[in-house]
């Protein structure tokens, strides 16, 4: 069974590594019996998470979020476009999620990750249904001009819980976003006002706005859990995800309403008690993440 022999610690260590590679499920189950995981976390604890705003200086809003080793870089660029006729006073948000080959040994240039379009769609569903962004704030002139926000999220290191990190980076980027100041010049085109111009240009249509931030209401945060036999593991690493395949992602907003409960199949069934336990773990996590995000935003404002 690969347990350490009496002769030499080095031999014992190599045995454990080999055991981990050859019998990954048994290796993890031995840890679960002691209510602990290979990286010494208790079952319900998430990994250490950090958020850094303003990672990309050329973007209008950006953030770098890390949960354990999983790293996501989100950047928002704003562009003016004509709004659609069905909603002339609303802007638009386009979300794209990329997994470049740097993030994981399983992603190669000719073989894109299968999970990337799924996470992109999940993100756009969650952000639009949570009502975090009021699209009417993105409007400039009703029927003529509105902002289109292009949010691109790049996965730099894929070590499990990709959706959680991506959502955290998206939310942080929107908190950092500053909509550029614009005015409409004589041709009727919208131009950005740089600070040097100041009040030099007299616009026909005074749509001069200051740089402003979006008001975010009901910010969603998420937690992915693994269900295995009767254990619930919060915030899995990539190794745990590959060994135990049943994932449940719960997204709650700041007023504890359920934005999404996503369980895409998996060998273990989720009974009501497991669902309630996952939701309780997520509630706890939402408070942690809100604190981390608020600290990052206030650090930014001090600068």
């Amino acid at each position: 069974m690969g347990s350490s022999g009496a002769s030499g610690d080095l031999e014992g260590e190599m045995e454990v590594d080999a055991f981990r590679r050859l019998f990954p499920l048994r290796f993890h189950e031995r840890h679960l019996l002691e209510s602990i995981r290979p990286d010494a976390r208790p079952l319900g604890r998430a990994r250490e998470s950090t958020v850094a705003l303003g990672a990309v200086s050329s973007a209008d809003g950006s953030a770098l979020a890390k949960i354990g080793h999983t790293t996501m870089l989100a950047a928002i660029k704003m562009e003016v476009m004509t709004p659609s006729s069905e909603s002339p006073d609303e802007g638009c948000v386009a979300i794209d999620f990329h997994m470049p080959p740097i993030c994981s040994p399983f992603v190669r240039p000719g073989r894109p990750a299968e999970v990337a379009p799924v996470i992109a769609k999940q993100l756009s569903d969650v952000i639009s249904s949570s009502g975090m962004i009021n699209l009417k704030e993105l409007s400039l002139t009703t029927g003529k001009a509105a902002w289109m926000a292009y949010l691109d999220i790049y996965c730099l290191d894929a070590d499990g819980a990709l959706f959680d990190a991506a959502l955290l980076s998206a939310v942080a980027a929107f908190s950092h976003l500053q909509i550029p100041a614009v005015s409409i010049n004589e041709d009727g085109r919208v131009v950005t006002v740089s600070r040097a111009d100041g009040d030099g240009k007299q616009a026909k249509d005074p749509v001069i706005k200051e740089k402003r931030k979006l008001t975010l209401s009901c910010v969603p945060f998420s937690l992915t859990c693994i269900l295995h036999q009767k254990y619930i593991l919060a915030d899995p690493t990539a190794e745990e995800e590959s060994v135990m395949e049943t994932l449940v992602t719960v997204v709650l907003d700041s007023s504890s309403r359920l934005v999404s409960l996503y369980k895409p199949g998996g060998p273990v069934l989720a009974y009501t008690s497991a669902v309630q336990d996952c939701i309780a773990l997520t509630r706890h996590r939402v408070k942690e993440l809100q604190k981390i995000l608020n600290e990052a935003v206030s650090d930014m404002e001090v600068d």
């Binding site: 999970v115 249904s129 309403r257 934005v259 409960l261 996503y262 895409p264 199949g265 998996g266």
Partner: protein, 243 residues
Amino acid sequence: MEIDRPDGRTRNQLRPLACSRNILNRAHGSARWSQGDTIVLAAVYGPKTGTRKNENPEKASIEVIWKPRTGQVGKAEKEYEMILKRTLQSICVLTINQNTTTTVILQVVNDDGSLLPCAINAACAALVDAGIPVRHLAVAICCAMAGSGSVILDPTKLEEQKMEAFSYLVFHNSVLSMLPEGSLHVDGEPMEHGIITSVTHGVISVDDYLYCLERGHAASAKISDFLRRSLQSHAPSDPSKAA
């Protein structure tokens, strides 16, 4: 508070279900499942030798291809493929035909709401038609929630768009047992109460969602009965097809 549904159904009433099997000549298994106007055609080819590069060769693997009614394949279709693949992997016995691939192809014939549950039901019927070994079947239902906490089942596309939130839920099929205590119990809850898959859209409170789960598996019993009747009434399919 009664909700008036445009087609006159009550809150818990499902649309008329219809299932026909063995409709495609060359596929090893096929089924057409319709719930009202939502119709999905499923075909199963397999098992074929070999697995794709990323898959585990010690187990049989399942490949899902989703074809929308119009337009090109985009992110939504990829998401449906992934959900279906993981749901079907949990119901099939993967240790029997190792190192093989079974392909399930879904063609959307018409989409009038509750599309993913219809597709899951069609895929299960097609797997049975092909004779792929399955542990039990999956039964899928869509529940839509209005703000007041009332739940309607099997919404049409218009109802899905009007309602505050809807969720697709997949349960075990119900077990018909000769033993007096009925189905298997796990932790005091019958096996059918566990959800295999859940996908939600829209924001609701946690209590509303749990109420939705209850309504969902009450309705899944009805779909289970329909599935059992329809699978038993068909003649056994041609055994020489899977050559």
